[in-house]
């Protein structure tokens, strides 16, 4: 068990967009996270169960789905992968006005909806929920 304390935290990233996926993964790696990439719910559950270091946080890009559906997907993944119920779920909102930019909204016990004004905002939120 002692060797696990040195392992960087793992983020389970569900990113459907082909343009965004490699850059987001790169940016997370650069900040010291291990990243497990999935394209859909079942895939995410299987991956989260299989990796040696269990995900410490689930990160999902909203893409074209309604927000509630995205959070439900996150909860199913958390449950299906038998992750602790306090494992944070972070959803990146897709469409929003300037008035929402820069806001991180807590929508559940450990669930967050972020309206990014820049990439640093996401990194700050992840670091707060899951320090490297």
């Amino acid at each position: 068990m002692s060797q696990k304390t040195d392992a960087p935290p793992t983020i389970l990233m569900i990113e459907l967009d082909d343009d965004t996926r490699p850059i987001l993964k790169y940016n997370l790696h650069r900040r010291g996270y291990c990243v497990v990439v999935a394209l859909e719910e079942e895939d995410a559950i299987a991956l989260a169960r299989g990796v040696r270091d269990r995900p410490n946080l689930i990160l999902i890009n909203q893409i074209d789905l309604p927000i509630d559906d995205v959070f439900n997907m996150g909860r199913h993944i958390r449950q299906g992968a038998e992750l602790p119920s306090r494992t944070p779920i972070v959803v990146m909102a897709e469409r929003y006005g300037e008035d929402m930019e820069g806001k991180d909204v807590k929508v559940g016990e450990s669930e967050y909806l972020t309206y990014l004004e820049d990439g640093e905002q996401l990194m700050n939120l992840l670091h707060r929920l899951c320090p490297v």
Binding site: I23, N61, E117, G119, L122
Partner: protein, 236 residues
């Protein structure tokens, strides 16, 4: 600071004097659409310090940029071609500023009888085709972070400023990608100390580094423009 359009400045002095009564300086606000698809072009615009995007909109409302028009270019080349309507494209002001507006009719009349004017406008049209061709290839083949770098360089080169006032949403429309993609690509460029990005402002802080990071398209287009329109003084 830019005070003139370089394409207009390249015209012979006598020809410029002749056109002068038809030239009018106008201010253009961000988001203004100069030509809608299908409209006959009534005015051409020679940008001074504004930046204009040529965009294509699909049936589902998604958009992408097909080309850019800035300080050594002109909007409305269709005006002196066979069909004088814009085609499927829109011309939208991306960075506000001023331009010289000229009515299409007198310019077309002069185009028909003046070889010097024809030479300048046709050389520019050739450069524009080169730009659009390269953009097509770039959009298909290059990754988003390289394309964003190239796009910022193209914009900077056209308005001669390192500070670009652009939102993520607007950049997403121009690059034809999702907002999250722009956010992450900008973050990557920022972490490499190439740009600074905050709340709708992009500042290029390492020009050489950004050029090295970008795909080859910026250099290819710049060389083609320099060949066709004369090298641009980039020191001032």
């Amino acid at each position: 600071m830019v005070t003139e359009n370089r394409l207009l400045a390249a015209l012979p002095r006598e020809l410029y004097k002749k056109l002068a009564p038809n030239l009018k300086r106008v201010s253009l606000k961000q988001g203004t659409i100069l030509h809608h698809p299908g409209e006959t072009i009534k005015n051409l615009y020679f940008p001074i310090d504004c930046l204009i995007s040529i965009t294509v909109t699909m049936n589902d409302g998604s958009t992408a940029e097909a080309g850019m028009v800035g300080n050594r270019e002109v909007v409305g080349v269709n005006a002196f071609m066979g069909g004088r309507e814009t085609t499927q494209t829109e011309y939208i002001i991306q960075i506000a500023g001023s331009a010289i507006q000229v009515e299409a009719q007198p310019l077309l009349e002069e185009f028909d009888r003046n070889k010097d004017l024809r030479d300048v406008l046709l050389r520019y049209t050739q450069a524009l085709i080169a730009q659009i061709s390269q953009t097509t290839g770039c959009n298909s083949l290059h990754v988003l972070d390289q394309r964003l770098a190239r796009w910022l360089l193209e914009s900077q080169d056209r308005i001669n400023s390192d500070d670009l006032k652009l939102t993520q949403e607007f950049l997403g429309h121009m690059l034809g990608v999702r907002r999250a993609g722009v956010t992450q690509a900008a973050q990557k460029l920022q972490e490499k100390n190439l740009i600074r990005y905050h709340r709708g402002h992009v500042q290029i802080i390492d020009q050489q580094g950004l050029e090295s990071f970008s795909c080859e398209c910026f250099r290819v287009i710049r060389e083609e423009y320099d060949r066709l329109l004369g090298a641009k003084d980039r020191d001032g």
